[in-house]
């Protein structure tokens, strides 16, 4: 790879051992993907929950911080794994909380802003068209690439940290024009309305698309979806397909026309109602006793919090069914002042701040609370938690609230 004089100095250790590690890491990754050089990035966003990090990952981060590392661009964080204001009742241990505290301290030493959110594009500073960034969290990346027109690969925690330290990332994948052209073409015949249905559509396309290196272009979406709808659409697509970018003809900024992304040459694949039903079928469990309802993945926006609070108002969850809601600190404070948190709590729900359910030691908290049957309106979360020992089911937000009230899955 061609390196500038400044990058050569970083590699030689002139900016300290942490930056030297970061450059070495980035060169390893860049070479595997045939990157020719580095590209400067304006922001970094790091996913790092303590379950993923473990003791070794926390020690690694502490060592980087002790080596004098300081980020040189704005760097923010994905949801935490422990809500330090409420973890014992969730069945999380002091050891888990301590890992979290140590990681936070190391990040703060390096100048990282602990935003703890996977909806930074709704709440912090959305990237702009053409903006090269180094974002973690697949939902963040796919939204930023597709809806904002920014340019990011999936940057795992170590690589996002490296980008924060060097201010650049290897120029490969979605930083290149040619990798952003469509490779698969899908035609949608009906437009979803509910967030869950948007997630199912995204999941269906992601599963068919099937690889990080495929770029779906979608025809047939007639009206501009909302930010929350595209949030669930993209997060589910990324979850099922490892997909980092989609185009919607006439909607997303790089695809005013099908020809803008090379879509005319691709054979169209219809996305049928039957395909959507096939995706939903494994997550159908009408009549089953319900252990926990989860609203998360991605964290809820203020608009989702308002909708949920409205549904919860004047009702009460069943004693046998817990209700968890994950949102960001930025949304939470507004949701408190507007009364939404109170309405959800009066229903018997618990709002967790700066976390996301599947990143919170999902296996351990499930065992601690006796949760097996889980219901959510997130197509992403039901795809994830099966490996953690849950039997996940999928329903609309309305169905989730009604099911929590009755203690059984209603639809």
């Amino acid at each position: 790879m061609k390196l500038t004089d400044k990058e050569q100095e970083m590699l030689a250790g002139k900016a300290g051992p942490a930056v030297k590690w970061a450059m070495e890491h980035q060169l390893q990754v860049g070479r595997m993907f045939d990157a020719e050089d580095m590209v400067t990035v304006s922001q970094a966003h790091m996913m790092a929950d303590p379950e993923s990090l473990g003791e070794s990952g926390v020690q690694f981060t502490e060592k980087i911080a002790e080596d004098g590392a300081r980020v040189c661009i704005p760097m923010i964080t994905d949801p935490r794994g422990v809500d330090l204001a409420w973890y014992e009742p969730l069945g999380q241990t002091e050891q888990m909380a301590d890992l979290e505290r140590r990681f936070i301290a190391a990040c703060q030493t390096m100048g990282i802003m602990m935003t703890n959110t996977c909806i930074n594009y709704q709440t912090i500073m959305p990237p702009v068209f053409g903006d090269h960034v180094a974002f973690g969290d697949t939902g963040v990346v796919i939204y930023s690439n597709s809806v904002c027109g920014a340019r990011s690969n999936f940057e795992g925690g170590p690589s996002a940290l490296a980008a924060g330290l060097t201010g650049r990332t290897p120029r490969y994948g979605l930083h290149l024009d040619e990798k952003r052209q469509a490779t698969k073409r899908y035609v949608v015949s009906s437009n979803p309305q509910d967030l869950m249905e948007w997630g199912v559509l995204g999941a269906t396309i992601g599963r068919m698309s099937g690889s990080y290196w495929e770029v779906p272009v979608i025809e047939g979406i007639e009206e501009a979806p909302t930010s929350d709808q595209l949030k669930h659409f993209g997060a589910a697509m990324a979850s099922y397909g490892s997909t980092p970018l989609f185009h919607i003809v006439g909607i997303t900024p790089e695809c005013r026309k099908l020809t803008d992304v090379g879509g005319k040459m691709l054979n169209p694949t219809p996305v049928t109602e039957e395909m959507l039903d096939v995706l939903k079928q494994p997550f159908t469990a009408i009549g089953d006793p319900l252990d926990v309802v989860v609203f998360a993945a991605p964290q809820l926006s203020l608009v989702e919090m308002a909708e949920l609070a409205n549904l919860c108002d004047g009702r009460q969850r069943a004693e046998t069914t817990d209700v968890l809601v994950c949102t960001s600190a930025q949304v939470y404070s507004d949701a408190v002042s507007m009364g939404y948190v109170k309405q959800i709590e009066n229903f018997g729900g618990r709002v967790l701040v700066g976390t996301c359910f599947y990143q919170q030691y999902a296996r351990e908290i499930g065992e601690a609370n006796g949760w097996t049957r889980l219901l959510s309106n997130s197509a992403k979360i039901v795809n994830i938690v099966g490996g953690y020992g849950y039997q996940p089911a999928l329903g609309t937000m309305q169905a989730c609230v009604a099911s929590a009230e009755k203690g059984v899955i209603l639809s």
């Binding site: 690694f60 795992g156 994948g173 296996r363």
Partner: protein, 139 residues
Amino acid sequence: MTIKLTCHAGIGPKVEGIALVADDNFSARYDLDRIKGVFSRPQHKLFGQSYKDVILVLNTAKGGVATAWMLYEMTSRLVAPKAILLNQANTILVQGAALANMAMVDRFDKGDVTKLIETGDHLVVDPQAGQVDVNSLNR
């Protein structure tokens, strides 16, 4: 009989071991019980099987970014595969392999690696050379 497969140059040290193969995708978060060292997702084709010290041969990645940290965490506890061979890696798997110093290669010249290698084959993986030697008792 030894078959030599060539692939794109990869990451990590030269290793040898026994193959565990499936035409399926991979995520450390979605698919594994990392404490027990087994595939725990019921829908995965390797459900219930141990991944410790084997060479995983799979199609591509699925899902999220957690695997980048998790490969490092798994390696630190010595409950990890020796190497991962893929038809096509995604960025997260490569980033994780780089941090964990785990052998990883992809893009095989002769096509679908999950068809070229069988479970139980003895493999020698040389990421820098972009070469995998396959010793099979069945061929």
